[in-house]
């Protein structure tokens, strides 16, 4: 696929064939290399075929080959002009995202009690395949209707947690009646669980501050501990997406739409089928917001038990919770005119700049926290939304994979990876040692470069770098 460099950090895929808009990949010379090697750029071009797409088919600096959309893909369609919604632009793990807690604790506190903290987290955080969640199955109906609010009402977390969560932890327009019995059955026993694969709970230390004012507003001080939680809607979301995709194929044919990849199946957002997908998606998102909310609560309990301190004294407050697999109805300027758009972010993070009405009052002047997890051996980043973002207020969602899972496993065993992490001073509690091999730090791109390019491309600004010191993996 042809790529033209149009600025220091932007590469264009020119329109060809049925592309309705060009593609734009935000990357540096080093980051574009991998995107060229696999099929990710082809996928950027495929997304540009979606009816009603406006601006361009965008890809963030952590772009890599996904299914349908590339991971790191952003596409906005004009709802009032035939714009479609595509479940492939959200993914199976609906509302997968990241939650970050800050604290009063320091790296020295962790070093002193590391064994106890990691043992408590190990025992309390459910992970791996299948059933096993912190919350009782009876909470499911309330969560599907009200998201994290239902978990709060059941005694998990705090009111402030909702204020610092995208959409205050409840997606509007949820339709629990559109979530199948199979999806409920699959996710019912998983509320309050990490899952596996690239999901994790990480204890980190604030390593470097790049923007002191924003860091202060986010509660991040040098040397203090943070906890990052990465997970999504578990089997409930996976099954909801599978159910909806099955309906979407025939519906797409009825609407006379063709796409270059079946995983991009889509229908007009305003159509009956489009509205049904939005309702089902919002309901699955409610599960994800509540899932991370409950895991954060259990994290506080784990620290409290390990340090024999009341949870309130630990200061484990929520910095923010962001989704990176979701489609949202948002208003943006297109050619100077406000338009109602359906913004798909598949492996991309919403990044509202300063002044946005949807931000919490105490963060509005600073911009939205953008959480960019790296690999378990390198670093993660906190960025902030900036004015003038060129991709419908979107930024990267992680380091981005560099290496296939098979290639990573060929390079070293899970035991080797564990040893290397421990040698580097990172405590690790894996659900499966064998799975560590696929998630080894070298399987990912350089997250520092991804954060730098986000800033250089005007997607988001760097605030703080977080270094892992304890990892709980699925």
């Amino acid at each position: 696929m042809e790529l033209e460099r149009t600025s220091d950090y932007a590469w264009t895929v020119p329109r060809s064939g049925g592309m309705r808009v060009p593609g734009v990949v935000f990357a540096s010379e080093s980051l574009i290399v991998k995107a060229r090697e696999d099929r990710a750029v082809d996928q950027v071009a495929n997304v540009a075929h979606l009816p009603g797409i406006v601006g361009a088919s965008y890809a963030m600096p952590d772009i890599h080959w996904g299914y349908g959309f590339p991971i790191g893909g952003v596409a906005a369609t004009d709802v009032d002009d035939g714009g479609v919604i595509s479940p492939g632009g959200v993914g199976f793990d609906i509302c997968c995202g990241v939650r970050l807690l800050s604290s009063h604790l320091t790296g020295a506190d962790f070093a002193k009690h590391a064994h106890r903290i990691m043992a408590e987290l190990d025992a309390r955080i459910p992970r791996g395949a299948g059933k096993g969640g912190i919350a009782l199955r009876g909470l499911l109906d309330g969560v599907l209707e009200h998201g994290a609010r239902a978990a709060l009402d059941a005694g998990y977390g705090t009111e402030r947690d909702l204020e610092r969560c995208e959409e205050r932890g409840t997606s509007a327009g949820g339709r629990p009646d559109l979530v199948s019995p199979e999806a409920r059955q699959r996710g019912g026993g998983q509320l309050g669980s990490l899952g596996a694969g690239n999901h994790f709970l990480e204890v980190q230390v604030v390593d470097r501050i790049f923007d002191a004012g924003a860091a202060e507003a986010f509660g991040l001080r040098p040397g203090t501990l943070t906890v990052m939680i990465h997970c999504g809607s578990r089997g409930l979301g996976h099954q909801t997406c599978q159910d909806q995709l099955k309906l979407m194929g025939p519906a797409m044919a009825r609407h006379g739409i063709t796409v270059p990849d079946r995983q991009l199946a889509c229908v007009p957002t305003v159509s009956r089928e489009g509205q049904a997908y939005l309702g089902a998606m919002a309901t699955a998102a409610n599960f994800a917001w509540a899932n991370r909310h409950i895991l954060a609560h259990e994290t506080r309990e784990a620290f409290s038990a390990a340090l024999r301190t009341a949870p309130a004294d630990l200061g484990l407050g929520l910095v923010f919770d962001v989704a990176h697999n979701l489609a949202k109805l948002e208003t943006h300027l297109v050619a100077g005119q406000p338009r109602n758009l359906c913004v798909h972010r598949k492996g991309a993070t919403r990044a509202f700049g300063p002044g946005h009405a949807d931000l919490p009052d105490d963060l509005r002047a600073v911009g939205q926290p953008v959480l960019v997890p790296g690999s378990m051996g390198t670093a993660s980043w906190v960025l902030r939304g900036v004015a003038g973002n060129p991709a419908f207020a979107s930024a990267a969602h992680g380091a981005g994979r560099l290496m296939s899972r098979s290639a990573a496993k060929r390079r070293a065993s899970g035991r080797d990876v564990r040893r290397d992490l421990e040698t580097a001073g990172i405590a690790i509690r894996p659900g499966s040692v064998r799975l560590l091999a696929e998630e080894a730090p070298y399987a990912y791109k350089d997250v520092d470069e991804v954060a730098r390019v986000c800033e250089a491309a005007g997607l988001a600004a760097r605030v703080a770098r977080l270094r892992p010191i304890g990892v709980v993996k699925g």
Partner: protein
């Protein structure tokens, strides 16, 4: 048959390619591959039998339906399936699968979340049937 599938390299997820003398055999091999990616099936006895039926309009849709149903049953019943007998007639299948509990069993690969339509192939190839499927992990 000892070598039942090949892995398709994919940056974020995992894919497989497999074949069979019939559509039913190829689907059975794809089902075996899906669980073998997650667990060491040589250690999973074929107990806990289940039987279900699937129908679809096309071979690729039939494949997605069968694999999706197996994933659903695996996750809700905490079972790892290790043996598969697929009977197919006119886009209608009866699937007999058997396995053992997943509880306490170590994963050898990440859990598969779903069966994708990306680069999906399920088609005749000479005298055989050929399948390619990418799983979301």
């Amino acid at each position: 048959m000892t070598h039942r599938y090949d892995i398709v390299e994919h940056t974020a997820d995992t894919g497989i390619e497999t074949r069979g003398n019939t559509l039913a055999e190829a689907i059975g091999n794809a089902a075996f591959a899906m669980f073998d990616l997650m667990y060491d099936l040589s250690l999973v006895p074929a107990a806990m039998p289940v039987t279900f039926e699937s129908t679809a309009d096309s071979p690729p849709d039939l494949l997605v339906d069968v694999l999706g149903e197996l994933l659903l049953r695996s996750e809700t019943d905490d079972v790892v399936f290790s043996e598969f007998r697929v009977h197919e007639a006119g886009m209608c299948t009866t699937v007999e699968a058997a396995g053992a509990t997943a509880i306490g069993r170590e994963l050898q690969g990440p859990p598969i979340k779903a069966v994708t339509y990306h680069r999906l192939r399920c088609e005749p190839a000479g005298d055989d049937w050929e399948i390619q499927v990418i799983f979301d992990v």
